[in-house]
Structures are given as C-alpha cells and as structure tokens.
Symmetry: C2
Subunit: 615 residues, 2 copies
C-alpha cells in the first residue's frame, strides 16, 4: 500500500509504502532530516510532528524520547514511524539538515526616526511626609515639569510594578510616552525597541528595530503555522465559518509564532522583549482579521466586507503578544476585500505617493495584490493566484528551501539547473517552476495554449498524463524523477492568468494601455527571485523592456518598519488607504474575457478582452 506523505513546512510531497518508515520516505524524496544514529531510534534527532493522518503506534524508543503530552501532540521519531494512511507531517527546523531560505530583506527607505513612542529621562523627587503624592502622580507631574509633556495616565500593567521599580531605580527612570499615555518604564538609560511584522499567508517575517536610530537589530522569518488549517486565505476563512472555535486556534497559532520570533530576535540582538514598546503588524485582510480574532464570515461571501478597515491601536495584551506589558500594537489600515495592510505597507515602502508616471505595483503570493499608480490616483485589485508559486498543487513543487531548483534552462535535450544551497535537487520552488514553464514554451514543448507535445524525448506519459522529465530517476541516482506535468502547467496557467488579468483590469479601468506603463514594481518573496524574462515569456507580466521592472523584496515588511519608526509614515499610510479606488475583480465588467486570454503563454497585449501577439 502506498500513502501520500506531505512534508511541511517544505511543502514537498511524495509516496511512501507502508513498510517504509517516514525517515525512509524523506530520504527517498531527498529531504534532509537529521539521523545521527542512522535510524535505530537511539539519537532522537529525527523528530517530526504528525499533523494529520494515522501512523503506527509509538515504539519504546519513542516512549523514551517524548513526554505523553508530546506524543499526544503527534511528536514522533521519523525512523520509528510507519504510515497507515495519507499523512501531513511537520519537520521542525531542529530536525532539518539544511534550513529553509527565508527572505526578509527589501527596499530600504531613508527616513528620520520619529516613532510614536518617545523616551524621556525623569529624575523624581523622593517622597516625604511633606510630599505624599502617589507614585503615578509623581511620575506624571515630574514628566510635565521636566519635559513639558502632559500625560493623562499610565498603563495599568505599568502601574502594577511602578512602586518597587522607582524605589529600586533610586527615583531615576526612563518613561516611554505614547500620545498622552506612559506605556513603559525602565531604568535610565534603557533601549527603546520596536517590532515590525509582516504576517503573510505562508510566511511571517519579523524585524527588531532600535527606535532611537531606526536601525534593524535582527530579522527572522518562519512559516505561518496556520498553514495546517488551509494553504490559502479562502480555505482558512472557510475553516472558521465551518468551525468557529478554530478562529481562536488560528489566532493562537499566529500569536505563538510571533512570540517565538520575538524570543529569537531578542536572542540574536541580545535584547529583552520587555524593551519592545511598540509593534506594527501588517498582513492581508484575512491574516489581519484572524490575528485579531475579528469576525471573518462576512469575508467569505460577496460583497466581501471587512470588520475593520482603518488603522488600529490595541494593547499587546489584548492579543497575547509578549512585549512590554503596556505596549500597543499598531495595525496599518486595510483597503478592501482581500487587499490588506500588507499592500498598504508595500505602497508605503515604494513611496507610492511620490511615484512618477504610470506604475504597476504587485505583491505576488498565494493572494496577489496589484495596484496601478497614476499621478495621485491609486487603483487596486486582488487576484486569487493560489499556492502554485509557493510549490502548492504542483507535483514536484516545494517551497524555497535547500535542494529546490530555483533556476532552469532547457537546450534541446540538455537541462541545466541551479538549486538552493547547491544541494542535490529534490523539487521545484516557485522561480524554478516559472523558468521551467518559460523554457518548455520556448523550446516548443508547450504550445501557446499550454498543451504539452508528445514529440520530445523527455516527455513521457505517467498516470494517463504527459509529463516532462526535468531530472530523471537515473540522474537522481535512484530517487524519484523530478517532472513537470500537464496538470502542473494548467495550475500555473490559472495562477499566472489571474495576475495578468488583475493588471489588465486595472489598465482598462484607468484607461491606460500596457505601453504606457513606466514601471512594474514586484514585491514579495517569490517576486524577488523570479526571472522577470521568464515571467514575461509565459505572459504573466506584460511585455515591456526589462529595465522597466524593479524587484524590491519584502516591501511589506519594510513598510511595517517605516510605520514603526515614523509617525508621519503612519499618517501617509492612512492617506494611501483612503485614497485607493478598490475594484472587486469578480465583478469587473472586463474580467472574464480577459481571464481567458490571460491564461495563454507567450508575449502579447490584451485590449478589451482581445489578445494580440507581439513579434
């Protein structure tokens, strides 16, 4: 009996016979799980967590390796465990021989730090029988006296420590003031830190920032653990509609992941989480609502209405974030539908308000947001591009981790490729998939409609469909071949067609032609690593001179950082959000004909739903 095993967070899938252990299956697929003792159950290094599916009973080695709570949570040794059904596993990072590529860098905008939270040095008079003011009033009045700052109150959680702290600091303190509130106290001098988070559907990127100079002290990213409740936003929302209690669970998963990132960031920067006096979190509207446990049912049906659109300031304790107890979390404003605060952050980072000419700005992900900037007008759509570019729904797809093919060229029979970290190939990440599709089109294996020819020595038929062998079993030295199937091509056509359609709808709504586009700004992890020429070749992006494309990395994360260190950037974000004209793609008049045309491969222009090929 063969079972399908899904290895998360790599996103790599394969089949495993029931007489092979999960470790054997991983090896078969080339996934690097640690196994110091060689699979004897002695070293306990090959830990995995079974998320779904049935597996064999724990062996005595596993009883030794795990607590009963861990066993209940699905923790197992891969070498001791045999599948009894299709399974989804999580491979913890400590069990991996090589680490996943996480991408946190992006454009940097020079901005003079002027954060919402400001630190003041306060030297308080000592209480006496003739000065019996309360500790809180003493602090507030001294702040006013020494700095002309009039605060109305001190956060209740700060007050819960104020008396012993002021005494142990000998009446000298640093007060962190936010608007009219004291949100943190520390000994003088203390670091004032901030946290910026880009909460993506697939990945969470985080940044620890020194608020005094805007410097990034550490940056970390992890996979979004909500993935076990659905790969894309629609599936996670449906999950909460079906089972409202999962809303709480999804929130916890996101918050726990961010809390773990905070611990790691602080370790790297030798900092304390209690010094983080402000956080900014951005995400698409579903991530935003799920993080705050806002209702999402109304986001599941048209008209897709947000519970909250505007920027929010909430106490970190109200979502359980472990930073300074009195600190706030600032959520940048959303736009509408599925165009959320992460897109606003991206527009902030690329300085959308100062853009010249016609600019297309897109953040490619499981959900792709596209904006067209034209003078001071911004028009936005959201396209459900799906998980194909993150390795989902693609037979040998995987996320951007060691051993993923990220670049690929086909010359006749010769396949040349480059893998992440130069490791033996185990699958294709998004940029590799995109290259493969473009190359197969260029060498004629795929026609304009995406149909795969059978007249190529590397094309074979398996399970009643054609597939192109990128790396054969022989080249793999016995491990499974890496192929791209006709079905994969269809998935990719849907994904890239959705993005191209979004661009077309924006152009037609604003009355511009493709030639008038002065710049295409591509943000997001996938967008950073793609070969733009391949994206143009398959018709995902309009055919324009390559100099007009700009890949900006994790611009959403950069925007979150800007909003963290600059009050005026927050104001700008609110201005951007309220200026955007949002188009509901499904209801756009020109959506359907465009979509059909946009799924074609090759270089072409679409005008009024008609496709015209170029050269």
């Amino acid at each position: 009996m063969l079972y399908k095993i899904d290895f998360e967070p790599l996103g790599r899938r394969g089949h495993c016979p029931d007489d092979k252990s999960l470790l054997d299956c991983a090896r078969q697929l080339g996934i690097g799980i640690l196994s110091v003792c060689g699979g004897q159950g002695k070293c306990h290094s090959c830990k995995v967590q079974v998320l779904t599916g049935t597996v064999s009973e724990p062996t005595s080695s596993e009883q030794d390796a795990f607590s009963s709570q861990e066993l209940e949570d699905g923790y197992r040794l891969a070498c001791q465990t045999y599948p009894l059904s299709d399974c989804k596993l999580r491979v913890p990072s400590e069990s991996m021989t090589t680490l996943q590529r996480t991408q946190v860098e992006g454009v940097e905008v020079a901005v003079r730090p002027k954060p919402t939270v400001h630190a003041y040095h306060v030297q308080l008079p000592t209480p006496s029988l003739s000065d019996l003011r309360g500790d809180a009033e003493r602090m507030l009045e001294t702040l006013h006296h020494q700095h002309q700052i009039r605060c109305s109150h001190i956060d209740i959680d700060v007050l819960r420590d104020i008396s012993p702290q002021l005494r142990s600091w000998k009446w000298q303190a640093q007060a962190s003031v936010r608007n009219n509130e004291v949100v943190a106290l520390g000994p003088w001098p203390s670091r004032q830190l901030g946290l910026a988070v880009d909460l993506g559907t697939t990945k969470i990127a985080s940044y620890l920032v020194d608020l005094s100079n805007g410097q990034t002290l550490a940056a970390k990213a992890v996979m979004n653990p909500q993935i076990s409740y659905g790969e894309d936003v629609i599936n996670r929302i449906y999950q909460v509609v079906k089972s409202p209690a999962d809303g709480t669970r999804l929130q916890q998963l996101a918050v726990e992941a961010v809390n773990r990132l905070i611990v790691e960031l602080c370790e790297t920067a030798d900092a304390e989480a209690e010094k983080i006096v402000e956080a900014v979190i951005v995400g698409n509207t579903a991530m935003h609502h799920l993080l705050l446990r806002l209702p999402v049912n109304q986001l599941a049906y048209s008209p897709f209405v947000l519970a909250v659109r505007d920027a929010m300031n909430i106490k970190s304790r109200d979502i359980g974030l472990h930073i300074a107890p009195g600190a706030y979390v600032h959520l940048l404003p959303n736009i509408a539908g599925f165009v959320g605060a992460d897109h606003v952050a991206m527009l902030l980072a690329i300085e959308a308000t100062q853009a010249k000419g016609v600019v297309i700005a897109l953040d490619i992900g499981t959900n792709t947001e596209v904006s067209l900037l034209d003078d001071d007008k911004i028009t936005s759509v959201s396209c459900a591009s799906g998980p194909a570019f993150e390795g989902g729904h693609i037979k040998d797809g995987m996320r951007a981790a060691s051993g993923a093919i990220e670049r690929l060229r086909v010359t006749d029979n010769l396949i040349q490729y480059q893998t992440i970290d130069g490791m033996p190939p185990i699958g294709l990440c998004g940029s590799g998939v995109l290259d493969a599709m473009a190359q197969l089109y260029l060498v004629g294996v795929l026609d304009k409609g995406g149909r795969m020819t059978q007249n190529h020595p590397r094309v074979r038929v398996r399970k009643k469909q054609r597939e192109f062998i990128l790396v054969s079993e022989k080249e793999q030295e016995g491990r499974p071949a890496i192929t791209i199937t006709q079905q994969d091509i269809r998935e990719l056509q849907l994904a890239k067609g959705a993005i191209r359609t979004g661009i077309q709808v924006l152009l037609e709504t604003t009355g511009h032609s493709e030639e008038e586009i002065d710049q295409v700004v591509i943000a997001g992890a996938f967008g950073t690593y793609i070969d733009v020429a391949s994206a143009v070749t398959i018709g995902m992006l309009p055919s324009l001179p390559l100099t007009r494309f700009r890949q900006v990395g994790n611009a959403a994360g950069m925007g979150a950082k800007l909003a963290l260190i600059s009050r005026s950037k927050r104001t700008e974000a609110q201005a951007i959000a309220s200026r955007v004209h949002y188009i509901e793609l499904a209801t756009a008049a020109n959506f359907n004909p465009s979509f059909v045309q946009a799924s074609y491969l090759g270089r072409y222009r679409i005008t009024h739903g008609k496709r015209k090929e170029i050269d």
Copy 2:
C-alpha cells in the same frame, strides 16, 4: 482538649472539645447551621469550609457529599468533622438558618442622570458592491452622520462580534459611547446598566443601576472574602509583603466576589451582565490597590505612599470583571495614606462641597476616616480603629447577624436587650458592644478609666479577669454565657479613643473647638445602627446636642452610585480629592497626649491634650 473555633463570616468564636463535632460546637454557641437530618451525615446541608487548622479525616458520607477538589478546598460536613487544632471555618450562606444583616442603603441625593456612557440609536446603510466600507467604519461614520458624534474607535472586544451582530440585528443597533469610544453594541432598544460597588474591608456592597433614569434595580452585599487573609487592611498588606503571590490571590478573591454579586444582582433585576456598560468601584486605599493588583509594599511603611492617587479608568477585562466586554471600570480618586476613594464617595454623597459651617464627617469601620469640612476647606485623617466594632477581638463579639445583641440597657440587676431578627442571643454586634460599655459606665460598673468594679452581682472572675455577665448560662438554657470582659473594655477604649483622637486632631489643626461643630455626619454600617447617645456617653464622639448628629448609612455606596450616573459628580469627586488637606495622624504633633485622654469614658472636651469633663 478544647480548641478555639472561629465561625466566619459571623465573626463568632467559641471553644469546642475534640469529642464534639463542629456542628455541636455551632449549636453550643447558638449559631444556626442547617441540619436537616439531625447530624447523621445524610442530608449534606451542614456544609462548612475549613479555612485554617486541622480537623478529622473525611468520613465516607463526606466522600459522597464532595468532589475531591471540594475536599481539597476544605469543604466538610460540620456534623462529621471533629477539630484537631484551633480552626477558622467559613459557613456558606446556604448552610445558615438565618441570614446576616447586610446594609446597603444610604442617603440618596437627587441628581439628573447624565452618565459617562450614552446610548445612541443607529440605523446603518446596508453594504453593497458600491459601499464596501468596513463594519467598524460604517458604524462610526453613521454615528457621526446621524448624531454628530465623532468617535475615534470601537473597543477590540466589541469588534470581535460586530459583523455577525449587525447582520442579525438587520443593521439597526444601539451604540454605547464613552467619550470618543464605542464600548458596547446591542440591538435597539437595549437597557443600559451600570454597576456601583463599595469594596469595604469587611463587606462588599453593590448596586445595579439603570443608567437612563438613575434608578437602583437591585442592591446586594456580601462579606469580603479577603477576610481569611487578615481582618484589617494592615494585616492584608503585610500578607502581600511577606508573600507577594498572595497579592494575586487577594485580587482574585475580591473580583470573584464582585462577579458573584453581579450574577445575583442581574438575577434579581432580570437583567444581563453584558448590558452593564460602566462600573464605579470605591474602597479605601488598600482595597483599591489590592483590587487592581497595584503594589502595596510602600503602603506598609511611613511615609505611606500610594501607587496611584488620581481617578482611574481601566478596562473591565484588565481586572477580570464580567460585565460588557468593552466596558470601563471607573475608580474614584484616593486622598492619601489610608483615606481612599470610599471616603471621597462619602463626601460626594453628603454634598461636602455645599456643607455650611463646621462639619465632621466620619465613616466608622475597621479603619475610620474622618474629615472636617469648613467652608471650602476639607481636612482628613485616618484612624486605625480596629475590628472591635465589627465584633473582632471581643470575646463574645460577632458581626451584625441574626441573634446578635444590637441594643442593650442595664438597670441595677436587670439587663434588657434586643437581638437582630428577635432570635435567641448568641453574641454582641458593634452597636450592642457600644451600648453595653455606655450602660456599664452609667451604672458605675466601669469607672472613667475603664476599670471594672468587682462590687456588682453580675461581675465575676474568669481566667484571671473580671467579666460582666450580660446573659448568664442559666438565661441561655445551658449555652455559654454572654459576657463583656475587662479585656473587651480595653480593646473598645483603644478603638473609640482612636476615633475621638482623629476628631480632636482635626479640630486643633483647623483651629476649631468642639462647640463650633455644627454637624457630625456618621456613615458606614456600624455608624448607622449605633445609639449616638451611647457613643457620646463613652466619649467616642464629642458631647453635642443629639440634633447635631446625622446617621447617613452607606454613604460611600451612594457616592459610587452618584459617580456612576453623573459625569459632573465625577468631576466634583476629583475636585474634592485634590482639595483635601491630609494629616498623617501618627505624625501629628498633638496625637499622643490626645490619644491618652481620648481613651477615657464619659462626656468631656479635650483641648491641647487636656481633658475637661462636662457635668
């Protein structure tokens, strides 16, 4: 072997031999514990909770009656349990044959309701593809459009339900607005309720109020369960100093008690706790700090400094109060030392700012706060009067419950008394103790110095001290006699001397003589029930015409209600608190000589530490 058994919350103590059950001991003392089956362990009606001390192992009846958690918490059947040491028991109200007198009424001041939270009817436009505003923005903008109310935000906990609620209410809602925030939403029309709480050291009084008309819908009181951590504020503070974790426990106890009161108030008024959109809580400074889990260590040593003096507004969820999730709790301002928000509330209720002439206002309790009002000046002190007037430290003292002697007259050999609910006498509550002391002084059993004569047929010697038999064993039909001992008199002299000293220090500080006092306002449960003539006879209060005394009941609770229904009363409270001149009694120059004089019995005046008797 005889053990001392303390029955809480009655405050009645007695001795029990180790071969008698706790039920027998209660019967012996006349305490009415239910016992339907007559002590066979079958009916489970005589439940008690052992708070401290060691008792016999649970019998099989008790194993049946209680869960293992309950047994662990000290729950036992009184008929099955035998003491193995001195014990402190709690008798739950459901196990009592008669209920304790709880006193919640007080002066009522007519005030036009204008609460901090106001309700608005909102009729929202339905979302459509051409109106995709978020639900929050739709609410805020409609409020502005329909009522010219500009709110900045909606509480996060309100937002967590907003989308399904607005849809189920068909886009018609009631918004509860507090300053610039929406703190609750309900269907239109909904009741808007408020909660006022007087958190006393011994008793918690609570009021459920209709905010639209200021009407009190229900009033309830319970004993403060923190009592098991110390009878007075000093002991509770020391407990937290010694064992900081107890700070959390003391907070929980207070919050749980208030949460239970909320449930009972809502049952009585047929209301829902989620409709309570605002709460006002007053208490002395220790109760205030312990409720909020503010630091108290600095309150344990001179100079006694508060963590927070000013009025506070905190989210109900930040202390775990179960009212509307977005509601605020307002804490009236404290004054200083141990003069807290309850005294401010009392001054508010008696309209201190409009008082004419020289007024002494005192709230007698375990801690007694006294203010002298003189034109627009207010001078305040706090006196540690101790628990004697609540039955503590008095051999046969008890709280004001069924069977307590509350009035008493002595004529030669004849003792006449009145008990609460006309039940057979089981002890003396505060007003009874006060009467006894005054009567014994008047008939010559006590001299001015408080010494008890031995030349009275009802005076006997027990355990090497004289005691006066109020009710003999014979009159008690075999139950223990009720007596007042020389030691009791000494305790009472300390208590009443502290109060009189407070008054004297205020008079001397402000340059007034006793004769100039135009009115003495007496608040608090004990103060309501005392015979003022007795209080004057023993020199607790100055000798003035009885028409100058005014007993106003639970004025602190009434003040909390005023602050609940009227914004302007809150402003007035803040003005009162900041206007008060506070005197630290222990450091007042005239404290010690006054205190010695003030412990004398009889009618006299004290001037500059000298006592002068009046006829």
